[in-house]
């Protein structure tokens, strides 16, 4: 499996030399830069449109999503079902809206959990330092030494795939990168003058952490969170393709796509391309936002 966004981000961060500090002015410049960036606007537009489609769409477009109707199975697109019906006789557009809600929910949940856990872990390791830091980082090294998909397969065997366990499993895999990045940031921030100043003024470690370190590491954290949304959505689709995803009544775009691929050679294109296009567009949207945030925070790029 190719390196996921977060992994490669970590690699990139390792390769680059220490991060830059951004003051308030620079952060403001960063936001302006971000909004003026065509990539960012495209990304935001894609994500917003998808969001509206999934969460507002069902208000206007009513479909039967509860009763299986095998008489209506795999119907091609018609005026009644604009994108046809699936294996259970459900309307595909209705399924896409439902599936999108699930994909977004999963992506945000995983990104949220990994961001909070990873940030805390990395910040603690970076601030405490010494043997504890070494030990905490070796745990991460160990987890990273097992290829992601291998760990995923082992863990899926332990937990029956439900929404909660899948979120848990995907989070376990993706908090590692965040923790490493935040620790790196904290290590480089620790020695800055304003942190030393705060320390000499008698600030406690907790306060230094929350007032000075986390806000300054925020850029890296946000970039990573954006990518992990995209990663989580892709990872779940891969799991369902391997037959280890969630069971039938549940649908997200990835699951719909991998189920649809079973019918690839029957010519049921409406079960394949609609979820594929929505899935890919959404991931592109989040990646564009992530790239743009990173660019707007990168002082070296801005000078050019």
């Amino acid at each position: 499996m190719r390196a996921s966004n977060t992994e490669s981000l970590a690699a990139e961060q390792l390769a680059a030399d220490g991060g830059e500090v951004h003051g308030d002015v620079q952060r403001w410049l960063g936001i302006r830069e971000f909004l003026g960036n065509g990539q960012a606007r495209t990304g935001i537009a894609i994500v917003v449109v998808m969001f509206l489609f999934c969460f507002l769409g069902p208000v206007f477009y009513h479909t039967n999503e509860t009763a299986v109707n095998l008489m209506m199975k795999d119907l091609p697109p018609s005026s009644k079902h604009l994108l046809g019906t699936d294996d259970y006789g459900f309307d595909v557009i209705g399924r896409l809206m439902r599936g999108g809600q699930a994909s977004f929910g999963l992506g945000f949940a995983v990104a949220g959990i990994t961001t909070v856990v990873g940030t805390l872990y990395g910040a603690v390791a970076g601030i405490v330092g010494g043997i504890i830091d070494g030990f905490m980082m070796r745990i991460i090294d160990t987890l990273l030494a097992i290829p992601g998909i291998v760990l995923l397969l082992i863990m899926v065997n332990i937990f029956t795939p439900t929404l909660v366990t899948v979120i848990f499993v995907l989070s376990v895999l993706s908090w590692l990168g965040v923790a490493r990045l935040v620790r790196g940031e904290v290590l480089s921030l620790r020695t800055r003058d304003y942190v030393l100043a705060a320390r000499t003024m008698g600030s406690r470690t907790g306060r230094i952490m929350w007032r000075h370190m986390v806000p300054n590491a925020l850029g890296v954290i946000i970039v990573n969170a954006t990518f992990s949304i995209a990663d989580a959505i892709t990872a779940l689709s891969t799991l369902s393709f391997l037959g280890l995803g969630m069971a039938a009544p549940y649908a997200d775009w990835g699951t719909m796509l991998s189920n649809g691929l079973n019918d690839l050679f029957d010519g049921y294109w409406w079960l394949i391309y609609p979820p594929a296009i929505l899935l890919i567009l959404t991931i592109i949207g989040f990646s564009l936002i992530g790239d743009a945030v990173r660019d707007s925070l990168d002082v070296r790029l801005r000078r050019r």
Partner: protein, 317 residues
């Protein structure tokens, strides 16, 4: 330098042992009995007892782990419950196939994506650059299984140009004798890797192009071709080295998706099937190998870094 190496080696051993402990705990957390999944649900209680006794599965967990460690240190990775062959034999069969598949596709991808990245960076924001960036970006975000299935559907099912299955010969030589069957798995992996590499290469070259030493090189009258070749390429290659180093353990995960789709009998397929069958020795062996390769990969990346970038070498001393 020696102290540094010793420390690195110590950490490496720690990581490998950590990997072993972790996978051991994880796979024993799997619900259901191994004996049942191998012998079938209708196996008698006595058969199950014999199976458990044969493989030491009736002993307490710490003792099982100790036995496993003892085995490993004697160079024995155990015997697959399901396939009834030594794990090392299975690895010896599968690993060369992955070296072939992943190695060659990585080389192809590098050969194509490095010049491509340089070209894109030099002519950035032109039409070609935007087209290439758009294509690689789409490819990068596309789930790999979807891309592979599209290739199968186009080249195998509709056009009948290529077989949908990888060569089934047991030796690497035999597989090479059937090159047509290798094309689709190779193509899938090469194109997806190009998508990743060229993105890095492009941004890395853009970074390098802004450096002052290029101004110096140009100011002293060096031709543009030489500037690119001597100064830009070498310096922008560094991030790729890290990524390559990180991708070496990928040999173990193999390319699970690609191997599953094309029935390519490499490490990934071996692992995937073992995971479904609770075949512990293969699972443990794979992650152990993965841990070792990760350590080697990181080390190799560091060494390559030192060779390509003298500054790193001096700092290390």
């Amino acid at each position: 330098m020696t102290a540094y190496l010793i420390r690195r080696l110590g950490q490496a051993v720690g990581v490998v042992i950590g990997v072993m402990v972790l996978t051991f705990i994880l796979i024993h957390m799997e619900p259901g009995s191994v004996a049942r999944s191998i012998l079938g649900i209708r196996a008698t209680a006595s058969r199950v007892a014999i199976f458990n006794a044969t493989y030491g599965l009736d002993q307490p967990l710490y003792k099982q782990f100790w036995n496993y460690l003892d085995q490993v240190f004697h160079g024995n990775l155990g015997t697959s419950y399901y396939l009834q062959q030594p794990v090392s034999t299975l690895f010896a069969q599968c690993l060369p196939r992955d070296v072939l598949l992943l190695g060659s596709s990585t080389v192809f991808a590098l050969i194509i994506s490095i010049p491509m990245g340089v070209y894109q960076a030099v002519k950035r924001n032109g039409i070609t650059d935007n087209l290439l960036t758009g294509t690689t970006f789409t490819l990068y975000t596309m789930p790999m299984f979807f891309f592979a299935m599209l290739l199968v559907s186009l080249f195998a099912v509709q056009l009948h140009w290529l077989p949908p299955e990888a060569p089934q010969a047991s030796s690497v030589g035999g597989m090479l004798a059937d090159p047509r069957a290798l094309v689709l798995p190779e193509l899938t992996l090469t194109l997806t890797q190009i998508a990743g590499f060229s993105r890095y290469m492009r941004s890395s070259v853009i970074d390098t192009l802004a450096q002052d030493y290029l101004k110096v090189a140009r100011a002293k009258g060096l031709r543009e071709r030489l500037v690119l070749w001597r100064h830009v390429l070498r310096n922008s290659f560094l991030p790729i080295i890290t990524i390559l180093g990180l991708s070496i353990p990928g040999l173990v995960g193999g390319a699970i998706i690609v191997e599953d789709i094309f029935n390519y009998r490499g490490m990934g397929l071996l692992f995937y099937q073992a995971a479904l069958q609770h075949d512990f020795p293969i699972l443990l062996g794979s992650t152990l190998l993965g841990g070792v390769l990760t350590v080697i990969g990181n080390l190799a990346a560091d060494v390559a870094y030192g060779i390509l970038d003298p500054r790193v070498r001096y700092a290390g001393k």
